[in-house]
């Protein structure tokens, strides 16, 4: 039984050991029954959830959308660029981080957590190089990032990282790799995935349109299409970077992205009706309506 402040050692008051006085518990007790168990990471709920970790996932869902696509010979990251205030210099906001010569990482969620985690990963890359005199593999770094994130889900007094990250690079066999790490500390290998807000829509699109053996240009188009689901139309709102077999991270310029956005938008629009065919079109529309409403 959990003890109140009066029943326990004074030194433990305020720790996870004692019941917290929260006003919210009374208000929200009705729609969040498990509020008791969410005050600390180190407590499971009876249903087997770690609520702090679940809430960290929610933080990721609020972050700027990031899309990763693995093609036959390259790997592509696209990030949504959120609208910055007029007076802010947007060049200082980094979403796609270069971790090492041959690795890159994009994070969605709390930007400060992303910064801390990427710095730690950069340090680990150099430490690995010092120890083994060879560049770290994507798998190793993904596992490392996941390991760091998992630590914070098991230790009291600290909260989990509120970010999910896409880690890209090439493995020793020169195959492109895309890893996803989540606040729970799990990491997985993907062909194409997205994280951040509205990532569900993007993932649906990717599931429909992704094919094995896409080439690089098709991959970039798919990434932009995915991001267009999320952002307001326009090249200013997205940042695309890719890595090809030479393992160098290349950031696409705004003009290149703009051109592709225009191409995609043209393809989306239905073909313009021929002049004088207005009546015919109505007829076909009616036909479709009939088809739709019939049982």
């Amino acid at each position: 039984k959990q003890k109140t402040a009066y029943e326990m050692q004074r030194g433990l008051v305020g720790s996870e050991m004692c019941i917290r006085d929260s006003i919210n518990a009374e208000y929200m007790g009705s729609f969040n029954m498990s509020n008791r168990y969410d005050a600390a990471v180190t407590r499971f709920s009876p249903s087997g959830h770690l609520f702090q970790v679940d809430y960290a996932f929610e933080a990721v869902k609020k972050g700027a959308c990031a899309v990763g696509i693995k093609t036959k010979d390259s790997v592509i990251i696209g990030v949504e660029r959120k609208a910055t205030p007029k007076l802010q210099d947007s060049s200082t906001i980094k979403k796609i981080f270069q971790i090492d010569n041959h690795l890159a990482m994009a994070c969605a969620g709390l930007t400060a957590d992303a910064r801390v985690l990427t710095e730690r990963t950069v340090l680990e890359c150099q430490q690995y190089r010092l120890t083994y005199d060879q560049p770290p593999t994507v798998n190793y770094i993904a596992k490392f990032v996941a390991k760091v994130m998992q630590r914070y889900t098991q230790v009291g007094g600290r909260r989990p990282f509120g970010i999910g990250s896409l880690i890209v690079g090439f493995d020793q066999a020169k195959e492109p790799m895309l890893y996803l790490t989540e606040p729970s500390g799990s990491y997985s290998l993907w062909k194409a995935c997205s994280i951040g807000h509205n990532s569900k829509n993007v993932t649906e699109l990717l599931e429909k349109k992704y094919k094995d053996g896409l080439n690089h240009d098709e991959g970039i188009k798919l990434a932009i299409e995915g991001l267009l689901e999320v952002v307001e139309s326009g090249n200013k709102n997205m940042e695309i970077a890719y890595m090809q077999k030479d393992e160098k991270l290349v950031k696409m310029t705004d003009e290149e992205v703009k051109k592709l956005v225009e191409v995609i938008e043209k393809e989306k629009q239905p073909p313009a009706p021929a002049p004088g065919a207005g009546k015919k079109q109505l007829h076909t529309q009616q036909k479709y309506c009939l088809l739709y409403t019939s049982p």
């Binding site: 980094k94 270069q98 971790i99 090492d100 710095e119 730690r120 950069v122 340090l123 890359c125 150099q126 430490q127 190089r129 010092l130 005199d133 760091v148 630590r151 230790v155 009291g156 007094g157 600290r158």
Partner: protein, 254 residues
Amino acid sequence: VFFFNDTATTEIYTRGIVGSVRCVQETGYQRRVHGDSQPQKDMECSFGFRGKDFVILGADASISFRVFNLKTTEDKIYPLDNTIALAGAGDPADRAVFCELMQRNIQFFKYRDGKNLSTHAVANFIRTFLADSLRERMYQCDSLIGGFDQGEGASLYYLDYLATLQKLDKAAHGYGAYFVLTVMDTHWKENLTLEEGIELAKMCIAEMQKRLVVNLPNIIVKCIDAKGITILKLSQNLFHIRFLYKKKKKKKKK
């Protein structure tokens, strides 16, 4: 470096640099007890000088242990960044450990901050690192740091194993320094062109190979400029060049 003990959650943030200062406990003074009549570090020679828009660094390519010549093809000039290199001379183990550590740290700063450090910053970082680690251990490695920055141009820094840092036009380490410095004092001038620099390097090597009691068959010479770090292909055994040089003079006299 974050780490978690099982008993308590303590976060130890070292200076956020790669490698641990608390590593090998043996200090330079302890090593002297081994009974070497000469400290091993002086037998390794390196030299460098600054030209108009380049720095030339040379380091002998031998690893010797007492009377044995173990290897004659060791590259002791470590690239720290695209346009900065570190020539290490000293105890082979310390030199390798120290120089690799510096490589990794400079690369770490580059990826962490997203921007390259200047040669001045790099030289001072290395000096600070050496000076701080002197409290616990000595890295018996004399260094020459040569680099090219866009605004500053070429710069050469002399760094001692006791963390003495000086920005110089020409510098050398080891016993070979006694000979090489005289050659450089005579023939170095401001705004050397690359050809003149190569000639000066050849003269330095010839002098070292002629006068130093230790045989240094190979000396690796690298040029650092705006393009990056390139190995200069000088003739490996330059003993004969001295004679060639003399011969040229004789011709002029005639």
